[in-house]
């Protein structure tokens, strides 16, 4: 992106960054007072209601890409570009019944790693943790880099400053407030995002005649309205399966399922899916309007902000800046909290210190959150463009986890051999496809191979899992915790 295309001056950018940074940290400290114990810090007391639950799921899934890249997608791939992006909401919808079952089977669970360990045993658990941590770090780094790049493009704030401030703010409020702070700020951020999109989209809509707009698109760029686009359809299904893999396996979503009150999680995820669904179409429409509004686009990545600032003036530019900042913060804070939970619960507590006290675990959380923030900052610092590829590369890895997770929740005959074989074969086939064919088919191939292998191994060596083993008792300071490798290996 080119700094010369900035739609806001640097001083205003710094002022907005400072104002919202201080606001999020102050709210984090305020809400953090509710986190009196580890369960409060990691899972907001397992009592989150429908409104906050739905908002946090929606806001986390709205990343800076949803705001900045969808207009570009629409500009390049037309109607299918918008629709392909909006299919990512299906992952949230399909996770809704899973969240209900997760809450029922594991009322005392902490992480997605807990589930894989108890359901499939240590080998699948370690593989799963590897995939999950690689993916989470890739997402975290891509969001940190996107923060620096997008804020620089919008306001001219130097990359290092923008990236550093956004990471620092998210680390601080996650550190002080844990999941309470993350969920509370997510609600405000989701409202800002929705209102921002409606205001800009509404004003743009009032400036164009839709019938004339369609006729002009059909005449000048018929490909954007074409129904049959094989590559677009393939990428649509690929994105859909990448999204399923991301949501089904990642602790960001599992921690929310554990954090919500009984009977709320499935409704909250279904609602968040509906809230998320129209956003890519609305932002995509804003991008498509660049031509009819006579806006010159020197840089396709900046089409959304350029249209907003053209129709709403400096207010439009401020609005886009704030919406992008909110979308970045709502994803980074969730990733920091959920990845730190995974490392503290699965690696520190289950692998290294099974008898750690609550105070020790709370201290470990602090170190892990700061460490994650620092590691992300160091990786983001050199601004290596190729790092973004790691996120795409993790697509086939996470897609291989789709069926082990689904079968693990609903099919008692699936044992650890099937899960391990599915994870390994799906990842290998997906990675081969990524390099041999292209990114647009890698996740699809990974999910298909993983499914076939899981079904075949389950048919050949069926297990009979006892669901009650998923409800693991809390190891107390007075009670000897069982070593993790005995806790829940699934016998075929």
């Amino acid at each position: 992106m080119d700094i010369r295309s900035a739609v806001l001056d640097e001083t205003t950018g710094f002022l907005l960054l400072g104002f919202f940074g201080v606001l999020w940290v102050a709210l984090g400290v305020f809400w953090g007072r509710k986190a009196r114990d580890l369960e409060g810090f990691m899972l907001a007391g397992r009592n989150v209601g429908l409104a906050l639950g739905a908002a946090t799921a929606m806001a986390t899934w709205v990343t800076s890409n949803t705001i900045m890249i969808t207009p570009k997608f629409a500009l390049q791939m037309g109607v299918w570009g918008m629709l392909a992006y909006s299919t990512a909401s299906l992952g949230l919808l399909l996770f809704a019944p899973m969240a209900w079952r997760i809450r029922r089977l594991m009322p005392r669970g902490y992480t997605s790693g807990d589930f894989i360990r108890l359901r499939y045993g240590p080998v699948a658990w370690r593989l799963f943790l590897g995939i999950s941590v690689v993916y989470s770090m890739a997402w975290l780094v891509s969001m940190g880099m996107a923060g620096g790049i997008v804020l620089q493009a919008l306001s001219g704030i130097p990359y290092v400053y923008g990236m550093s401030v956004i990471l620092l703010v998210c680390v601080l409020y996650t550190l002080f407030g844990g999941l309470y702070a993350v969920i509370g700020t997510d609600f405000i951020q989701s409202l800002i995002i929705l209102v921002g999109v409606v205001v800009v989209g509404g004003v743009v809509l009032s400036r164009v005649d839709l019938h004339a707009f369609h006729a002009r698109l059909a005449a000048d760029h018929p490909a954007l309205l074409q129904v049959l686009m094989p590559v677009a359809l393939l990428s649509l299904f690929n994105n859909m399966f990448f999204g399923f893999g991301e949501i089904f396996h990642n602790n960001v979503w599992w921690s929310r399922a554990f954090a919500m009150r009984d009977g709320v999680s499935h409704r909250a995820f279904a609602a968040s899916s509906l809230f998320w669904l129209p956003i890519p179409i609305a932002t995509g429409f804003i991008g498509l309007c660049a031509g009819p509004l006579g806006i010159n686009i020197p840089d396709a990545d900046m089409v959304g902000p350029l249209v907003a600032s053209k129709v709403l003036g400096s207010m439009g530019a401020v609005l886009v800046f704030v919406v992008v900042f909110c979308s970045l913060a709502s994803s980074i804070d969730s990733l920091l909290a959920a990845t730190s939970d995974l490392l503290v619960e699965d690696v520190y507590r289950k692998m290294l210190r099974p008898w750690a006290t609550e105070a020790t675990l709370r201290r470990a959380s602090t170190f892990v959150i700061v460490g994650l923030g620092l590691a992300t900052w160091l990786i983001c610092l050199p601004r290596l463009g190729d790092l973004i590829q790691v996120l795409f590369l993790s697509g086939p890895l996470v897609a291989s986890a789709i069926w082990p997770v689904i079968a693990g929740l609903y099919w008692r005959r699936t044992g650890h051999a099937a899960a391990v074989a599915a994870l390994v074969s799906g990842s290998a086939a997906g990675l081969w496809c990524y390099f041999a064919i292209g990114w647009y088919a890698a996740s699809l191939v990974s999910a298909a191979v993983s499914m076939a292998v899981l079904a075949a191994v389950t048919a050949l060596w069926p297990a009979r899992f006892d669901w009650s083993r998923l409800d693991e008792a809390e190891p107390s300071a007075h009670e000897e915790a069982r070593p993790c490798f005995q806790a829940g290996s699934s016998t075929p």
Partner: protein, 39 residues
């Protein structure tokens, strides 16, 4: 080619649904808060 009516309906529906989502979130928040079930 996507017909004009489909294209127009898609855009208008997306904007209306986004506005309804914002209103829905606030309504849910007020309801949860009144019932003491925020968190």
């Amino acid at each position: 080619m996507f017909p004009s009516w489909f294209f127009n309906a898609l855009i208008v529906a997306a904007l209306i649904l986004t506005a309804v989502s914002a209103a829905g979130l606030v309504t849910l928040l007020v309801r949860d808060w009144r019932n003491g079930r925020l968190w």
